[in-house]
């Protein structure tokens, strides 16, 4: 189903104009809200297919808007922020935002990010039994990993880590999200602190050059992302 409506929540008319111009070709309807409260109302009433949310709103914080919408909707949310603060990005992703863009961004960048987010959110269906990218094949059924046909042995934690990352290509997962998905139910004291060590060991096994990773990309200060096919 092609996307129908995009909601832009931003108090700056100039930014709204930029975003509107970037999307008017792809979305038949562009909704605009100047305040957080208005944004939440419009999101509830119009059920848009995408929300572009600015963090610096006059009434509510963008974070609150994001949490509010997440209570009843899984609509993709892309956040625009002027603060180059990784803590803020982490908080946003943990609160359910799908992606973020720091100002100043170019319209091309925005369009690319949104396309990736929409592709991910559209790809629901039966869970895959086989994940594959650039010669790296993860057979979930056989519990087998191969790169260019050569089998790679992983520990259970490494396997789970790779599975979680690889099943959501292009999506940045925060340290907290990865920890929750991989370690829940496992008794490891300081695992969260050593997440980076596990990633380093995983990279040494699957990356042709672990210093120039082509599969697992670091999002500085935020988390990790499995590189999406371009």
């Amino acid at each position: 189903m092609p996307p129908r409506a995009v909601l832009i929540v931003d108090d700056e008319p100039q930014i709204r104009r930029v975003v509107r111009n970037a999307f008017k070709a792809d979305f038949p309807r562009v909704l605009e809200a100047e305040t957080g409260a208005q944004g939440v109302d419009l999101a509830a009433a119009e059920r848009p297919d995408l929300v572009i949310l600015d963090l610096g709103l006059p009434d509510l914080s963008g974070l609150d808007v994001c949490r509010e919408i997440r209570k009843w909707s899984a609509v993709p949310i892309v956040v625009l922020t002027a603060r180059h603060s990784e803590d803020e990005k982490v908080t946003l992703l943990d609160a359910g935002a799908d992606d973020y863009l720091t100002k100043p961004f170019s319209p091309a960048e925005l369009q690319a990010r949104v396309r990736a987010v929409l592709r991910r959110s559209g790809g629901t269906g039966t869970p895959a039994t086989r994940l594959e990218q650039d010669g790296l094949v993860m057979d979930l059924h056989q519990r087998e990993l191969r790169r260019d046909g050569v089998a790679i042995h992983l520990t259970p934690i490494e396997w789970e880590l790779l599975r979680v990352l690889m099943s959501q290509p292009g999506r940045t997962l925060t340290h907290q999200q990865l920890f929750r998905e991989v370690w829940t139910g496992r008794a490891f004291g300081d695992a969260q602190q050593y997440l980076r060590v596990y990633v380093a060991q995983l990279r040494r096994k699957i990356e042709p050059d672990p210093v120039r990773p082509q599969f697992i990309v670091t999002e500085p200060g935020v988390g990790y992302r499995f590189k999406a096919r371009t």
Binding site: V18, G56, P104, T155, A200, R203, T218, P220
Partner: protein, 522 residues
């Protein structure tokens, strides 16, 4: 103190009353002497003695016992009106009477004294408890001290009680109690002396002063001799530090005994705690004010960041739209907007460093991870140059404790510099190794190098190497920020000339031993 003369007179009055009762009882019994047995007389007298000692006290009781003994003998044991006794058995009666009276009086006295003591202790505990509650309950910490002074004065019945607080640096003393009268409370350096030496001082009525011993907390040693005293100065100590001086004044100090002394010591402990509480409260307020200042600085920088970057977004977007119509000049606008954005980022970082509001997340991080992210970020500007990474990714993991984002900014800055100043075609080398307590990231280029005179100057803001190629962008903030960010997390950035020409910049970050990660098997 309540007037002791008054109490004495009342006691004598009551004693005389009981002497009167003895007289009346004796006269009454005398009138019916023939009908009375010796036992009746002894019992009645005993009753009077017990009454007197119970109501008035031991002295009266003993006096009544003696008087009754004589009256018994003189008036009721034949031969009458002599102290002689016919029947030797009467001696036994008399002696029994006397011993019984005296023992009973003594027992009564002891019981009463113990009851009094218990009552006084109860009152003491009550006072301490109420003082503790008062000290803790007053809204502002510094209102507690006058309250404590007032309790000490009231409890011990003294003329005045003052508390001097010593400044936290151990300097000036301030009088904190507010008392209505205008008596001269300055003491000619005596208070200062007590604060300095932590010793008790007693000032006598003739103006001379006597030094007491050092006081330890909870010291229950006997009180100093206060018979001729008019003023007592007590150092107030918390954890062996003199925090103030307690001064009590009274014209006579009459009735100030061991128990008063004990109370005074206990109460002075509260005063010392009160002073400590004032100090801690002030420190907490100060810390809160500093935190608030930092928060405001950070909020200001965030809003500046927002205000500067929002228009840049618009400019970039418009330039992008114009470029799509075929005007190539728009590309330059986009580039310059990006450059302006980097400058804004640099200025904000420098402000954060200078304002001391840089937020640091020191965590376990891997050198490989940092190098990978840095290589990714500079890949776009390398052009014809190569980045050669020399890191052993098969051996032990290189781990450090640092802020990943700030460290990345430093490393990217050093790599960008290398690219800027290197002749095209010459590779930039990034060498990573552990050196003692540090992780070392060495960035080597084949640029013109830095003349010896400039080697420290390049780390100052707004400076660029004199031999720099003409405009390579940036405002010369890079190295200043790089060093500031590195030092903020316990590392450093240094320069050394490279062998055979060029520069070597080294980023050092605190290393950490490789953790033992729980390993499982499939």
């Amino acid at each position: 103190m309540s007037d002791p003369g008054d109490a004495r007179r009342r006691e004598i009055g009551r004693a005389l009353l009981w002497v009167g009762i003895l007289t009346v009882v004796t006269l009454g019994m005398l009138s019916v002497r023939p009908q009375l047995e010796k036992a009746h007389i002894a019992l009645v007298f005993l009753l009077v003695v017990l009454g007197g000692s119970a109501v008035v006290g031991r002295g009266t009781g003993l006096f009544l016992a003696g008087a009754a003994f004589l009256l018994f003998n003189y008036l009721f044991l034949p031969p009458y009106y002599t102290l002689l006794i016919n029947n030797p058995l009467d001696w036994l009666v008399l002696a029994t009477f006397l011993v019984t009276s005296i023992v009973a009086t003594q027992l009564l006295y002891r019981a009463r004294r113990e009851a009094d003591e218990a009552r006084r202790r109860t009152a003491e505990i009550d006072r301490l408890a109420s003082l503790g509650a008062e000290t803790l309950n007053v809204g502002r910490a510094d209102e507690a001290l006058p309250a404590i002074a007032e309790v000490i004065r009231g409890t011990l019945g003294l003329d005045a009680c003052d508390i001097f607080v010593r400044a936290p640096d151990g300097g000036a003393l301030t009088l904190v109690t507010q008392v209505a009268d205008n008596r001269d409370r300055s003491s000619g350096g005596l208070v200062e002396w007590v604060a300095e030496n932590g010793r008790l001082v007693v000032e006598l009525r003739d103006g001379t002063t006597h030094l007491g011993p050092r006081l330890g907390l909870g010291d229950a040693s006997s009180p100093p001799d206060l018979a001729l005293a008019q003023r007592l100065l007590l150092p107030l100590e918390v954890r062996h530090r003199t925090v103030g001086v307690l001064q009590v004044t009274d014209p006579t100090f009459e009735g100030f005994g061991a128990s008063s002394w004990r109370i005074l010591l206990a109460l002075s402990f509260y005063a010392a705690l009160g002073i400590e509480r004032v100090r801690l409260a002030a420190e907490a307020e100060h810390a809160a004010a500093l935190r608030e200042t930092d928060r405001l600085k950070d909020a200001l920088l965030a809003s500046v960041s927002h205000d500067l970057r929002t228009p840049l977004t618009t400019i970039k977007a418009l330039a992008h739209e114009i470029r799509l119509t075929g005007d190539d000049r728009a590309a330059t606008i986009e580039e310059q907007a990006d450059r302006l954005n980097r400058l804004v980022a640099d200025l904000l970082d420098l402000s954060r460093l200078n304002a001391g509001v840089l937020s640091l997340r020191l965590e376990l991080n891997l050198a490989e991870d940092l190098v990978g992210a840095a290589a990714d970020q500079v890949s776009g500007i390398l052009g014809s140059r190569r980045l050669e990474v020399k890191l052993d990714s098969t051996g032990e993991l290189l781990i450090g404790r640092f802020d990943f984002v700030h460290a990345l900014r430093v490393l990217v800055n050093l790599l960008e510099n290398g690219v800027k100043y290197s002749p095209s075609g010459a590779p930039i080398v990034l060498r990573v190794a552990r050196a003692g307590p540090s992780l070392c990231f060495e960035v080597e280029d084949r640029g013109p190098g830095i003349p010896p005179a400039d080697r420290e100057g390049i780390f100052a803001p707004f400076r660029r190497a004199a031999a720099s190629t003409p405009d390579v962008g940036g405002a010369g903030l890079g190295l200043a920020i790089a060093r500031g960010l590195a030092r903020a997390q316990g590392g450093d950035v240094t320069f050394a000339p490279r062998d055979n020409g060029g520069s070597r910049f080294t980023l050092r970050l605190p290393a950490e031993a490789a953790p033992t990660v729980p390993e499982e098997h499939l």
